[in-house]
């Protein structure tokens, strides 16, 4: 039971061969997202900004005593979580919605999931512009630590990639994954200190969140850098990186293991 062809011999060689496809798919995703909208890419900035304003109005009366500069605090968490949430939700369908193509021609299948996560990340980079605007408007201090933001984004990107690959392959065999994942991410959002300080959680729950919620690792690191203007703690950096690489390994391994069976189920 073997298929040998020089197309498949080497993973990295193949990845290199199709790198332009990845680039085109990412630019297609971005292009189609805002096609026929007057403001175009401005929505990448405007959208999170509007959500942030609403959430600030709603929550600032509840938490403003504990948190100074609530808009920036909220925005740091919200941007990162939204990226993970939206890009993995799109990656879930990356195999099933490209069924027609995958049945007709040979393309490395992971490329579709990778393209969804990557275009989500490009979107996130646009949205960082909105963060800068909020920081300027609220008079938040800028420190050189802000320049460390790629460290956090890379961790989160790798984590989301692993998550997206895992979800995409699982959804081929069980279409209920998409609904289950919906519920999971909603719970996940409330268990991540996005609009409340983590100290508000009861002790037992706080232990769980700070030790087992990967989004906590990333959001807190990001806040250390941008909001507090200090280096993130080494423990968080280590935990975040380890989780990201672990998730990527699991997602990638599951995907490679099952990808040959996709064609029979899509």
């Amino acid at each position: 039971m073997s298929y040998s062809s020089n197309q498949r011999s080497n993973f990295w060689k193949e990845f290199w061969k199709y790198k332009d496809l990845l680039k085109l798919l990412v630019s297609r995703n971005l292009k189609l997202k805002y096609r026929r909208s007057v403001l175009g890419y401005v929505w990448s900035v405007l959208n999170p900004l509007l959500t942030m304003v609403i959430m600030t109005v709603v929550f600032s009366t509840m938490f403003s005593r504990n948190i100074e500069n609530f808009p920036v605090y909220l925005f740091c968490g919200q941007l990162l979580f939204n990226f993970m949430n939206q890009s993995t939700h799109q990656a879930i369908f990356s195999i099933t919605s490209n069924a027609a193509l995958l049945k007709k021609t040979y393309v490395p299948k992971y490329i579709f999931a990778v393209s969804k996560i990557t275009s989500g990340m490009v979107d996130l980079l646009f949205s960082l512009g909105a963060l800068v605007i909020v920081m300027l408007v609220t008079g938040a201090p800028f420190s050189w630590h802000c320049l460390l933001f790629p460290v956090v984004i890379v961790q989160l990107y790798l984590f989301s990639l692993g998550m997206g690959l895992f979800m995409a392959q699982a959804n081929v065999f069980f279409r209920d994954i998409q609904y289950i994942y919906n519920a999971v991410t909603t719970a996940w959002m409330y268990l991540t200190p996005i609009f409340y300080p983590v100290e508000m959680l009861p002790d037992w729950l706080r232990g769980i969140v700070t030790h087992f919620n990967p989004m906590y690792f990333y959001v807190t690191q990001f806040r250390d850098i941008v909001y507090h203007g200090r280096l993130p703690s080494f423990d968080l950096l280590l935990a975040g990186t380890a989780t990201a690489l672990g998730m990527l390994a699991v997602g990638f391994w599951c995907f490679r293991k099952s990808e040959d069976k996709f064609i029979l189920y899509i």
Binding site: S4, Q7, Y18, K31, L102, L264
Partner: protein, 248 residues
Amino acid sequence: MDQKPVMIDVDHVTIRFNLSNQKVDNIKEYFVKLVKRELMFQEFLAVNDVSFQVRQGEAWGLIGTNGSGKSTMLKTISGILKPYKGSVTVNGSVAPLIELGAGFDPELSARENIFLNGCVLGHSEKFMQEHFDEIVDFAEIHKFLDSPLKNYSSGMRARLGFSVATMVKPDILIVDEILSVGDYKFRKKCEARMKELLSGGTTLLYVSHSIDEVKRLCDHALWIDKGVARMQGEAKAVCDAYMEVMKK
């Protein structure tokens, strides 16, 4: 002939499909069936123990009735399906034309789709840039280059797909009954293009229900009947034998 290198080696290939009546695609059903021990795998062998070797520069026609496994065979050679038993060895680049313009995005313009489809076939963006004009010339779509592909007719889409796939000289060209949508003039043009590629050393695998076309284009033929290879050899002999049986 024998000194030419083998391009495609299909060695005792069997391809299996799951024919189970209901598709179990959600977890609840999966567990219910698992508990009731109904998770059976009704197997169906779309291709059963087929072997053949294609040498460089040969043109093979695959003939057979509907559902006999021709397309499945082609998909396995393209790398889309994996054989259940046996092995397929392919030496060289494959341009599969199993459906023209698979990989086209209807929302994007023809210009963007040329690049997208080229990259789906494994070419680089730079390479597509160099061949862009040739592709547009062959497909004759200058006027509509920037309108979205969803406004194209199926014939125009087929032209574009064929141009993209054959503009680059592939080592192996796989063509699966796709030219039927084009008009007469375009089909002639495609045939001429395929002959040109053939004389340039490209190996061709061709599926068609038009026996005349197979006779005209191919030098060898493989007759698959219900997944089993009935006969292979010189195109004319195989086609005649096939027609003999069909007429009965």
